[in-house]
């Protein structure tokens, strides 16, 4: 029992870290524009699949990952530039529907490029597990948790310390006032999509050595990341991170202690419970402390 618990905790925090990064991406775009970007999961898939392909054509590992992230960021910014910006007078709901359309489009494009096969990346630094009693911790898990923690800290200080970060918060608080202060609101939006795509791509390459990736892998990860963002209080970036980790742990505890068949159901039951009973999320909506 104790071992199952510890193992589930390790697995849960690992998977939850990926949810956290996806959730953080949701929160950033929601903050910037009140839009839930349902193509967020596709960023994860594109990051992972591009890395797989670039590695297969013979690029060194680090270079392949670097380019994969660049591609993901470019696609995120193109989504903003060619799908979101032209519809700037559309309502929030229409814009959300546009993101759903974009996610279907990206999935279709991925199917054409990469086919239906499953792919994975090699672990970043070997497969030799670390034993903690009878539970094991793989080096990749450490990579996932460590890089996620680093990303979260960087994003946090980006919004707290840099003028661009503050300007993005200003755009979300009041776009007209931001514009009056000389802040280029559209460019900030473009930047937000790029940043969200980057975080999605990072989640993708981190998790690809652990979970297989395929053209439609983004759908489930996107929904889990969305659940994380809701759990944490939509528009609360650090809440989304906490929500992701909590979700990952509950999911894997449920799978370990009850049955792995319920794994995905658990996430959605939690999502529904939160929406019913605590729609502002466990950690409160954006407001008192946004970042």
């Amino acid at each position: 029992m104790g071992e199952v618990f510890l193992q589930s905790l390790i697995t849960g925090v690992t998977v939850g870290s990926a949810y956290a990064l996806v959730g953080l991406g949701f929160a950033i775009i929601f903050n910037a524009s009140d839009v839930v970007n349902f193509a967020q999961g596709e960023f994860v898939m594109i990051g992972a699949m591009s890395a797989v392909s670039l590695l297969a054509v013979g690029l060194p590992f680090v270079v392949a990952i670097g380019f994969a992230l660049l591609i993901t960021v470019a696609i995120g910014m193109m989504l903003e530039k060619f799908a979101i910006e032209p519809a700037k007078s559309a309502t929030v709901v229409s814009t959300i529907i546009i993101t759903i359309g974009a996610s279907i489009f990206l999935r279709g494009a991925a199917l054409l490029i990469w086919g239906k096969n499953f792919h994975s990346l090699p672990a970043f630094s070997g497969e030799i597990p670390i034993h903690l009693g009878s539970a094991t911790l793989t080096p990749q898990s450490l990579w996932v948790m460590g890089v996620t923690a680093l990303m979260v800290l960087l994003v946090r200080s980006f919004f707290k310390r840099t003028v661009t970060g503050k300007a993005i918060l200003a755009c979300s608080a009041n776009p007209m006032a931001a514009s009056l202060m000389g802040i280029p609101v559209r460019r900030m939006m473009l930047f937000s999509y790029g940043l969200s795509a980057f975080l999605g791509g990072v989640a993708g390459v981190l998790i690809a050595p652990i979970a297989f990736t395929s053209y439609d892998a983004g759908m489930m990860l996107g929904l889990k990341g969305f659940a994380a963002a809701i759990l944490g209080g939509l528009g609360n970036p650090m809440g989304a991170v906490a929500g992701g980790v909590v979700l990952g742990v509950l999911e894997s505890l449920g799978a370990g202690l009850i049955s792995s068949g319920y794994k995905d159901a658990i996430a959605f039951i939690i999502l529904l419970l939160v929406l019913f009973f605590k729609p502002q999320g466990l950690f409160g909506r954006a407001g008192s402390d946004r970042v």
Binding site: V163, K166, A167, L169, A170, A173, N174, M176, A177, A178, S179, L180, M181, G182, I183, P184, V185, A286, G287, S288, R290
Partner: protein, 243 residues
């Protein structure tokens, strides 16, 4: 002012509409360097629309805007701030979740790389409104209306204005605070030589510190005169000064 002096801001047959409803119909207004000009008009006359058109956050449908002799009619809003048109918006529009210090800092966004200006501007703002220094780390949304108005003015000053646009700076403030705010605006204009275009429903107070004024009615200028003439005008007294 003689013809030789080029106005700092010139609006020529400016028109603007929301959907099909016209809000401005061919407005001509000039503001000269160093002046404080006020626009008086009832609620819904188009005063806010006018200022938004000047700062570029609202598209215009006809006419032209000239600033320092150059047309800025097609210039994007965020560039107008760079050339020195700074706007204190109606309703203050705080970045409510950000601190007072960050609100003021972001006012200088256009000059963010000019560290010496940011430092000097911030000191200037805190000198004008010492209370804001004490509140620097508070979220702007927690401040009183009067203090938020100070932040809004301070934020605009950080943009290094050549022309300061003020949209109803006295709106919703207690009389004592109104006097405070008007004193600062007068000081900015008379002691620091800052050119101001101010829109006010509190016409009396505005005309007392302004040199000239325009009367705006349903999107058009109906009268333009010196502030003292407007204050003495019988019809204006009846319509806007409450006696």
């Amino acid at each position: 002012m003689g013809d030789a002096v080029q106005p700092l801001l010139a609006l020529s047959s400016l028109s603007c509409h929301y959907g099909k409803t016209p809000a401005l119909r061919g407005v001509d207004i000039e503001v000269n360097e160093g002046e404080l000009v006020t626009i008086v008009g009832a609620n819904g006359a188009g005063k806010t629309t006018l200022l938004r058109a000047i700062s570029g956050v609202l598209p215009i449908h006809g006419g032209s805007i000239t600033f320092e002799g150059e047309s800025i009619t097609k210039m994007a809003a965020h560039h107008r701030c760079e050339v020195g048109i700074c706007h204190v918006p109606e309703g203050r529009l705080m970045f409510a979740d950000l601190t007072v210090a960050d609100n003021i800092y972001l006012g200088g966004y256009a000059h963010r790389r000019d560290k010496s200006w940011i430092k000097k501007g911030t000191e200037w703002v805190y000198e004008l409104f010492p209370i804001l220094q004490d509140k620097a780390q508070d979220r702007a949304g927690t401040l009183s209306g009067g203090q938020q108005q100070m932040v809004a003015i301070g934020r605009a000053l950080m943009g290094r204005p050549r022309l300061l646009l003020l949209d109803e700076p006295s709106m919703g403030l207690a009389p004592l605070l109104v006097a405070d705010i008007f004193r600062v605006i007068r000081q900015l204009n008379q002691e620091e030589g800052l050119t101001c275009l101010m829109v006010e429903q509190n016409a009396k107070a505005a005309l007392k510190i302004a040199q000239r004024g325009y009367v705006l009615e349903t999107g058009g200028v109906t009268l333009s005169a010196s502030a003292s003439d407007l204050l003495a005008n019988e019809e204006i007294r009846k319509a806007y000064l409450g006696h």
